[in-house]
C-alpha cells in the first residue's frame, strides 16, 4: 500500500512539476515545412513594387524574417487582433484556408494592440495554426498602411506586393484571389 502511494506521488509530481513551457499558438511549431516540389507560383507583373521587408518575433519569441518565407513561395499576411469582432467572425474559415494551402502559400498573422493571454485564447479558439508575428509597436502594420485590423495583403513568390485589402476579406474571396494572383 505504501509503495502504491509513493508511486502515485511520483506520477503526480511528474505531471505537475515537469516545468515545460506550454506551447504557444502561433509560435515556432506553426512554421511551414519545405516548399513542395513543383509548386507553380504565378510570376508578379513587371514593375510591381516590393513588399515592405520586415523581421519580427512570433508569439513564443521565435525570430521570423518575412523575406525568407516569400523567397520560396507566396505569402498571405493577415492583420488582426483578438478584440476585432470582424476578424473573429472570419477567423475559423481563414484558419481552414491556411491549412488547405499550408507549405504552398504561407499565411502569416500580424497582431497589434493585444494581450498575450487574449491572443493565445483567440488563436486556439479559432484553430489558427500559422505563424503569428507580435507587432507590438505597430511597425509592420504601418509599413503596410494598415490603420486598423482586419486587413489582408498578398505577396508573390520573390517578394512583390500584389494587393492589399483594408477591412480584410472573407475566406472564400481570399481563396479566389490566391488562385488569381498567386498560383499558376
Amino acid at each position: 500500500m505504501r509503495a502504491v502511494a509513493a508511486l502515485l506521488a511520483v506520477v503526480l509530481c511528474l505531471a505537475a512539476c515537469d516545468g515545460a513551457e506550454p506551447v504557444r499558438a502561433g509560435g515556432a511549431a506553426t512554421l511551414p515545412g519545405p516548399v513542395p516540389s513543383g509548386l507553380a507560383a504565378r510570376p508578379a507583373p513587371p514593375g510591381t513594387p516590393g513588399a515592405p521587408v520586415f523581421t519580427g518575433t512570433l508569439t513564443d519569441g521565435t525570430a521570423l524574417a518575412a523575406a525568407d518565407l516569400w523567397a520560396g513561395r507566396p505569402v498571405v499576411l493577415l492583420f488582426f487582433s483578438s478584440w476585432c469582432t470582424t476578424c473573429a467572425e472570419r477567423q475559423d474559415a481563414l484558419s481552414e484556408l491556411a491549412r488547405a494551402y499550408r507549405d504552398r502559400v504561407v499565411f502569416v498573422g500580424v497582431v497589434t494592440g493585444d494581450e498575450p493571454a487574449d491572443l493565445d485564447a483567440y488563436l486556439r479558439a479559432h484553430k489558427a495554426e500559422f505563424p503569428v508575428v507580435v507587432d507590438a509597436d505597430g511597425t509592420v502594420s504601418r509599413a503596410y498602411a494598415v490603420r486598423e485590423p482586419g486587413a489582408v495583403a498578398v505577396v508573390a513568390k520573390g517578394g512583390a506586393l500584389l494587393r492589399g485589402w483594408p477591412g480584410g476579406l472573407d475566406a472564400s474571396t481570399l481563396d479566389t484571389r490566391i488562385r488569381e494572383l498567386l498560383l499558376a
Binding site: 497589434t112 505597430g138 477591412g167
Partner: protein
C-alpha cells in the same frame, strides 16, 4: 431581545440611508474618434493612427472633476459612422468611429474619460449624453 432587534433595524436603516444619499443616473458615454478613416458604414471599428487604444474591450474610467473614478468598464466595438451624406457610389467611405457605452454616474459638475490609462479627455453633456470628441 426586542431592544436588540430595534437596534439592528436602526443600523440597517442608517446604512440604507447612507448608501442612498448619492443617487446615480443612467446615461451613455459617446466617444467619437474623429479619424476619418475609409470604412464601410456601420461596420465594427477601432480608432486608427494615434488613437488605436480606442477599441473593443479597452478598459475605461469615467472621472469626476476631482479626478475620482465614478464609473468604469470596457468599451464595446466601435461603429463606423459616415462623415457626410453625399453618395460616393462606393462601399468604403470616410467615416469616424463611435463607441457608445451605458454608464451609471452620480451627479457632478464635470466628467472626464480615461481609456487604457491614456490622458483624460473631457466629457461634455449633450442632449442627455456624455460626449467626448477625439481629437478634441
Amino acid at each position: 431581545m426586542a431592544r436588540s432587534l430595534a437596534g439592528f433595524a436602526a443600523t440597517v436603516l442608517l446604512a440604507v440611508a447612507a448608501s442612498g444619499c448619492e443617487s446615480s443616473s443612467q446615461t451613455t458615454v459617446r466617444v467619437l474618434v474623429r479619424d476619418i478613416n475609409i470604412r464601410e458604414e456601420g461596420v465594427d471599428c477601432a480608432g486608427t493612427g494615434a488613437y488605436t487604444f480606442f477599441h473593443n474591450r479597452a478598459p475605461f474610467r469615467v472621472l469626476d472633476g476631482e479626478g475620482a473614478t465614478v464609473a468604469d468598464g470596457r468599451l464595446p466595438p466601435g461603429k463606423a459612422v459616415r462623415t457626410f451624406e453625399e453618395d460616393l457610389e462606393v462601399d468604403r467611405i470616410p467615416t469616424y468611429c463611435e463607441f457608445a457605452v451605458p454608464v451609471s454616474v452620480p451627479s457632478r459638475a464635470g466628467y472626464q474619460l480615461v481609456v487604457d490609462d491614456q490622458p483624460a479627455i473631457p466629457l461634455t453633456s449633450d442632449q442627455g449624453f456624455l460626449v467626448a470628441v477625439v481629437p478634441s
